[in-house]
């Protein structure tokens, strides 16, 4: 199972220090998620689109991702323009389109897309192991980082187990239907995955102890901030500052 769809590449973002990208994404996401005015949101989306452009990723895969994300947004468009209390703009029968509802739906659309684009451009361009490594240096609790590391490491392995069990069911003519038999078989399949992963985790731990594990993960490589990383950090900080200023500043820039 290939999970890190956008992690390989040679753009600026692929080569940036993961710590910069983690902090930058977090700052940007919080600033955008808490913004309510339109100027900062439009600015943020333009910035996010530009950032995504510079990451030079596979266009087709990117469009599929963005379309999937906008599914939930579309669901909200079916309700919000009609259910938000406010000034009526148009009426068809019992349906009334209201200004506040349209504004709310538009704001959500801008926010969602801006944050997702930056997440793909900044975090999607790192491998999960680099991000985990970055989290260690950012002093995220060690146990949590270890969980994160092992969980990701074994997803592919467990998925292979799943594929194997699924093919052996198919060989025995299993066709999923809406029936108790299907639900029972699928439940046994899932439970078998738990059994296999539980047994595997015991072997993993034994192998670790055998190699002298005593509860700590030592980090051998350390990241070094290059001049480009500092420049990008300054750029991201300025961008986040501008979004915040446009939202919370008194005068409109």
């Amino acid at each position: 199972m290939h999970l890190e769809v956008f992690a390989l590449g040679d753009s600026t973002w692929h080569r940036t220090d993961p710590r910069v990208k983690l902090l930058g994404t977090a700052g940007f996401a919080v600033a955008v998620a808490t913004a309510t005015r339109f100027t900062p949101l439009v600015f943020a989306l333009a910035l996010a689109a530009a950032t995504l452009w510079t990451a030079r990723l596979d266009r087709r895969k990117l469009w599929i991702r963005l379309a999937a994300v906008n599914g939930f947004v579309l669901f909200l468009w079916l309700f919000l323009p009609f259910t938000t209390p406010g000034e009526a703009l148009a009426q068809w029968g019992w349906l009334t389109v209201r200004r506040e509802g349209l504004e709310l739906a538009a704001a959500i659309t801008l926010k969602t897309n801006a944050i997702i684009m930056v997440t793909i451009a900044l975090l999607g361009t790192s491998t999960i192991f680099d991000l985990v490594h970055g989290l260690v240096h950012l002093r995220v609790p060690r146990r949590l980082v270890q969980l994160f590391f092992f969980c990701f490491r074994y997803i592919t392995v467990i998925h292979e187990e799943y594929v194997r069990l699924r093919s052996s069911m198919r060989i025995r003519c299993f066709h999923p239907r809406t029936s108790i038999h299907t639900y029972r078989s699928m439940a046994y399949l899932v439970a078998m995955l738990f059994v296999r992963s539980y047994e595997r985790s015991e072997r993993i731990y034994q192998a670790m102890v055998l190699r002298g594990f005593s509860g700590t993960f030592w980090t051998l490589n350390h990241f070094h901030m290059h001049r480009r990383d500092w420049a990008l950090s300054a750029g991201i900080a300025t961008a986040v500052g501008l979004v915040l200023a446009l939202q919370w500043g008194r005068s409109v820039l």
Binding site: F72, I108, L144, F150, I158, R177, F194
Partner: protein, 201 residues
């Protein structure tokens, strides 16, 4: 079962983050080093299970299994679900980073509740009652999760009430399927590997 970026208001996001931080602290506190691979690889299994679709009449639904996660892991359901949701946000852009707190709480709180409510039943003598405990876990954890999602939306603004109602109604068949699957899962685990249902004890 997640709310995407940019929908919820700042107070709801902050509240969810604080509750999840407390849950993570409870889950990580006292987790011995030997439990880390166990919780992590079981989390990988839950991640894979959440990609499985099962037929439900004309459509298919994907499994959630947060209740079963709670039943097996107890308070460690918080870090387990948190890690799985973070990976989903990073790898597939499902859910989102700013909503991690809210989404984790909405799924993990019912999971932990089911752990305390149904674990005695699931580990008890009677296979039939154990199945029933498993069913109740799957049914309730998805139902409560959907209710909490509705509550998060409703707390953001009354404009979301109708959308929240429809989202909750869509979960009704999922509750039933999750209940059946969790019931059968519990029966299987009791026969094949009963220790799993005693992981946290």
């Amino acid at each position: 079962m997640h709310i995407s970026e940019g929908v919820l208001s700042a107070p709801v996001l902050a509240g969810g983050a604080a509750l999840t931080a407390a849950g993570l602290a409870a889950g990580l506190k006292g987790m011995k080093p030997e439990k880390v691979p166990q919780v992590a690889v079981l989390s990988s299994a839950f991640f894979v299970a959440s990609l499985i679709h099962v037929p439900a009449g004309p459509v298919s639904v994907h499994l959630v299994l947060n209740g079963l996660n709670g039943l097996i892991l107890g308070w460690a359901a918080f870090p387990s679900i948190f890690v799985a949701l973070t990976l989903q946000a990073l790898l597939f852009q499902f859910g989102g980073l700013t909503t991690l707190g809210v989404n984790t709480f909405n799924m993990a709180a019912p999971a932990v509740l089911c752990y305390f409510l149904f674990r005695p039943l699931v580990r008890g003598r009677s296979p039939a009652w154990a199945w029933a405990g498993g069913f109740a876990t799957g049914f309730l954890s998805v139902g409560l999760g959907a209710a909490l999602i509705g509550l998060s939306l409703a707390l953001t603004g009354e404009a979301f009430l109708e959308a929240a109602g429809v989202a909750f109604a869509a979960h009704l068949p999922v509750m039933l399927i999750e209940g059946l699957l969790s019931g059968f899962c519990v029966s299987f685990l009791r026969k094949v590997k009963p220790e799993i249902l005693g992981v946290t004890s």
